[in-house]
């Protein structure tokens, strides 16, 4: 029975995609592109001051969606820390890592942290932004966690950072709501010179907040999964 059901479902999917294949999905000329994308592209540089149109869509035009995304990530991290409750035991002695591995990871961590910060700060100019930057910081934290015997992981500090970051995201949105624009996440700062680091109003601020939140959250997820009993 199980095999029959799986076979039918898979055959249905194969048939469906076979009908799609053949250039139905991708417009090959600029004539039949979506009007929403074209509209956003033509006004985003003047309205938001951000050189990267994807960033302006993520942070401003669909900013409410990003708030929901951050909330979903927070709920996932909450669920993981509920499942992986730490007993507060002394962590087991790590296998003796080689000296080169230890030193290398200690040298690598500041570089990864710096690179994550760079990705976060340049989210409105180049590809990147808060989400990949935060993930890079969390990966650097994992490198340290993997090799050194004693990690002073301050769980309270991480939760405080995460909560403050989430609060300031909503706070920035509410300031926009009270300001002259009168809508949630409306830009209230001067736009500055186009294509420089200090430009694009509140976009770098929101991405910095998102980066801190994602970095703290994913670091505690990795820590909870690795160290709990």
């Amino acid at each position: 029975m199980r095999k029959v059901i799986s076979f039918l479902l898979l055959a249905g999917f194969v048939f469906y995609f076979a009908t799609l294949t053949g250039g139905l999905l991708i417009p090959d000329s600029s004539a039949d592109r979506s009007s929403v994308g074209l509209d956003i592209l033509s006004r985003s540089a003047d309205e938001t001051g951000s050189a990267n149109a994807v960033t302006s869509v993520v942070v401003l035009y669909r900013g409410f969606d990003t708030l929901g995304e951050v909330t979903v990530l927070f709920l996932a991290a909450l669920g993981i820390s509920v499942f992986m409750k730490s007993t507060g035991e002394k962590r087991k002695k790590v296998l003796d890592q080689s000296f080169i591995l230890k030193t290398g990871s200690r040298l690598l961590f500041p570089l990864m942290f710096l690179f994550g910060m760079y990705i976060i700060a340049h989210g409105h100019l180049s590809p990147g932004g808060g989400f990949p930057g935060g993930v890079i910081i969390a990966t650097g934290f994992f490198v340290i966690l993997l090799t050194s015997e004693s990690v002073n992981f301050n769980k309270t500090l991480m939760s405080v950072l995460e909560g403050l970051a989430g609060l300031s995201f909503i706070g920035l949105g509410v300031v926009g709501l009270l300001g002259p624009g009168n809508s949630f996440l409306q830009n209230f700062l001067p736009l500055g010179t186009f294509n420089t680091v200090f430009s694009a109003g509140i976009i770098p601020l929101i991405y910095a907040v998102v980066g801190i939140k994602v970095g703290a959250e994913l670091s505690s997820v990795v820590y909870a999964m690795k160290e709990s009993k």
Binding site: L20, I26, L41, V72, A77, I80, P127
Partner: protein, 121 residues
């Protein structure tokens, strides 16, 4: 355009292949971690499909990095923003599923779905 092979055909074929492979893994494998891998692969295929809907042949990325870039020669930014959200949420889903699997393993001592009562089908 040379013959049947175009960029859209290749991308559709690849994403459809990934989705079908992922679903096949979820349906046929008995190991719980391998089922999560299947979900991950199917999700990657969906992301490729979504991004490829916004692609226009020969156009540049939607970034005004230098002056003189025309709006009409850029790809659609909206599907890319959607997929950005989708990737992050996909990671959250996988991590939560794996945490549940670790707890289940501590309770039952096995990862085989045919040996756990209530997970058989």
């Amino acid at each position: 355009m040379n013959g049947v092979l175009s960029i859209s055909t290749v991308l559709n074929f690849g994403s459809a292949g990934l989705i079908v492979l992922g679903l096949y893994i979820v349906f046929t494998q008995k190991n719980l971690i391998k089922m999560v891998i299947g979900i991950d692969i199917a999700e990657t295929g969906v992301n490729v499909l979504l991004v490829s809907t916004g692609y226009i042949k020969g156009n540049t990325a939607p970034i005004f990095s230098k002056a003189g870039l025309q709006v009409s020669s850029m790809v659609d930014p909206v599907p890319q923003a959607l997929v950005l959200t989708s990737i992050v949420i996909g990671f959250g889903v996988s991590a939560l599923a794996l945490a549940m699997i670790i707890k289940l393993y501590e309770k039952t001592g096995t990862l085989d779905t045919s040996k756990i009562r209530g997970l058989k089908w």
